[in-house]
């Protein structure tokens, strides 16, 4: 696996995101350093409120006005955080694409679904509408949408949650991007659709060999789609490594807790609650909920220590 990932797609150095509210500045993402390789599928795993979506949006410069991004991020060597919106916009859609969270609200209620998928094609590849329509229909067929081609002429409010999610997936990958950000593909979907979306995503990503940054809180999605997994807690990375290591043999107490809380592992819950981003505890951010926290954890903020073969953990006592 190592030799293929020669070319680094993204290199992120100490990325920080602040939200300026009337009271104080809330730090949503703290010191995020990571690199994503060509054709790799990285999963950002964490509970709601840990800043994973904020990181994704910051990377693609889609944050609201009151957000401020510090640090550096290099896409194919080009520094993106400081880049002007005009130049970055040329990358959007063709090279860098997004499948946003909230399938329901990300589709324009007054435009037919087929047209919304075509829009990206027509914007960048300037082909005539007939060719575009054919491309979209073939893509929708690959996504196993029912009632083709009629469904392309339907409006978003006429589709179920699962189908809207697939339309979003289509709109994201129709221009064959090199890097795809997938934000919570299964949130809000019910049980049946969830598996379907996961299998579809898996097939598509393998055919296209695009590199994917997957943001989710759902273990099954991480298990079936990701090569490498990064676990986030309260705005920072606590552990990352290959999927088998992190999901089967987690090292950080929080990752262990997550694994134990799964229904199939007997519902052992982690005590307490993840802290809201404006009340971050001192020292290690997990120490109030960590079963074997010591005095040192409460005082000192641990850094990411390298455990070899690309595994890192943010804890003083995590054994190798």
């Amino acid at each position: 696996m190592e030799e293929e990932q020669t070319r680094e797609l993204w290199r992120i150095e100490r990325l920080q995101v602040f939200f300026k509210t009337r009271g104080n500045d809330i730090m949503a993402v703290n010191e995020f350093s990571l690199s994503i390789y060509q054709g790799e599928r990285l999963c950002l795993l964490g509970e709601s409120g840990c800043g994973k979506s904020v990181f994704g949006m910051a990377l693609l410069k889609l944050l609201p006005e009151n957000a401020e991004v510090l640090g550096k991020a290099y896409y194919k060597g080009m520094e993106t955080v400081g880049m002007s919106e005009k130049t970055f916009a040329r990358l959007r859609g063709t090279e860098i694409a997004v499948i946003p969270q909230g399938a329901g609200s990300s589709l324009d209620p007054t435009m037919r679904c087929g047209k919304q998928v075509e829009e990206c094609l027509r914007l960048h590849e300037k082909e005539n509408s007939q060719v575009c329509r054919q491309k979209v229909l073939s893509l929708l067929k690959r996504l196993e949408l029912p009632r083709l081609p009629g469904i392309a002429r339907d409006y978003p409010f006429e589709l179920s949650g699962g189908m809207k999610q697939r339309i979003l997936v289509a709109a994201g990958i129709v221009c064959h991007p090199q890097f795809l950000l997938v934000d919570e593909p299964t949130k809000g979907l019910d049980w049946g659709c969830r598996d379907k979306v996961i299998t579809l995503l898996k097939k598509l990503v393998e055919d296209e060999e695009t590199s994917v940054l997957l943001i989710t809180h759902d273990f099954n999605v991480a298990k079936s789609l990701a090569d490498r997994v990064v676990v986030m807690y309260a705005g920072e990375i606590v552990e990352y490594g290959m999927r088998e290591d992190v999901l089967e043999r987690p090292v950080h107490p929080y990752s262990k807790g997550l694994l134990a809380a799964l229904p199939q592992n007997g519902f052992q819950a982690i005590e307490g609650f993840s802290p809201p981003l404006d009340q971050i505890p001192k020292g290690c951010r997990f120490h109030p909920r960590c079963p074997h926290a010591t005095g040192r954890c409460a005082q000192e903020h641990p850094n990411l220590t390298d455990l070899g073969e690309g595994r890192e953990v943010r804890c003083f006592y995590a054994e190798g």
């Binding site: 409120g49 179920s160 019910d190 049980w191 807790g257 997550l258 229904p263 519902f267 819950a269 609650f273």
Partner: protein
């Protein structure tokens, strides 16, 4: 105890043409004392509507909902209040189940004052503090507003508010689908523990099979009962 006989309900949806969506069609269901019932089905198949009908929040078009043999829609006012005490419901989105501009102490004290469970304010405060301990919550939450606490804490408070009235039946409409996995486990364990302790019958509604399997003795499948009658 709480029984639904051939209950059905349909809603008019969409402007212009009068398209009726049949949310619940001819459902019969019974919850006996101390029983743990699981109701599972696709989202949008009318589970929430059925839950709200059982809790007396929505009037069914057809069929009746009976508590101890009496139709809850025809209860006199006094008995209706007693019905509210016996049958409690907790909702899917904890943060929205509380008045956004009322401190949580007020929200928790409301059932006590409504049913005059205690006379003086000190007793009320003591009662609440003791209940908070049992739920594993700190009393600083009293002074907070709903948007200042996490989903898990909010759902615990909703549970505590319902249990203050010692209900006979607790209906939980997808209590954990909005919560994260770790917090989900806490809430479910709490629900199971409290309902068993106080002999409360539980109707747990969810679209997640694992949750239902882990929590309930009897399981009812709600088939796709949303028929489109336009």
């Amino acid at each position: 105890m709480l029984r639904a006989e051939h209950v059905s309900k349909s809603f008019c949806v969409g402007r212009g043409r009068n398209t009726k969506i049949q949310a619940v069609l001819d459902v019969s269901l019974e919850i006996n004392k101390g029983e743990h019932l699981g109701l599972v089905g696709e989202s949008g198949c009318g589970k929430s509507t059925l839950a709200r009908m059982l809790a007396g929040l929505i009037r069914p078009d057809g069929g009746t909902v009976l508590l101890d043999g009496q139709d809850i829609q025809k209860l006199p006012v006094k008995a209706r209040k007693e019905f509210r005490r016996k049958v409690q419901i907790i909702f899917q989105n904890p943060q929205q189940a509380f008045h956004p501009r009322m401190k949580l102490y007020e929200t928790l004290a409301e059932p006590i004052r409504l049913f005059h469970l205690v006379e003086t304010r000190e007793q009320e405060r003591l009662m609440l503090e003791e209940a908070m301990e049992r739920m594993g919550l700190t009393t600083d939450i009293f002074g907070r507003y709903p948007h200042e606490i996490s989903g898990g804490q909010a759902q615990r408070i909703a549970l505590l508010r319902s249990l203050m009235l010692e209900p006979k039946v607790l209906i939980a409409d997808e209590p954990t689908s909005m919560l994260d996995v770790s917090v989900q486990a806490q809430i479910l364990k709490l629900i199971r523990q409290t309902t068993e302790e106080n002999e409360i019958a539980l109707l747990l509604i969810s679209h997640d099979m694992d949750v239902i399997r882990a929590m309930s003795d009897k399981v009812i499948f709600m088939h796709e009962s949303a028929l489109n009658l336009n």
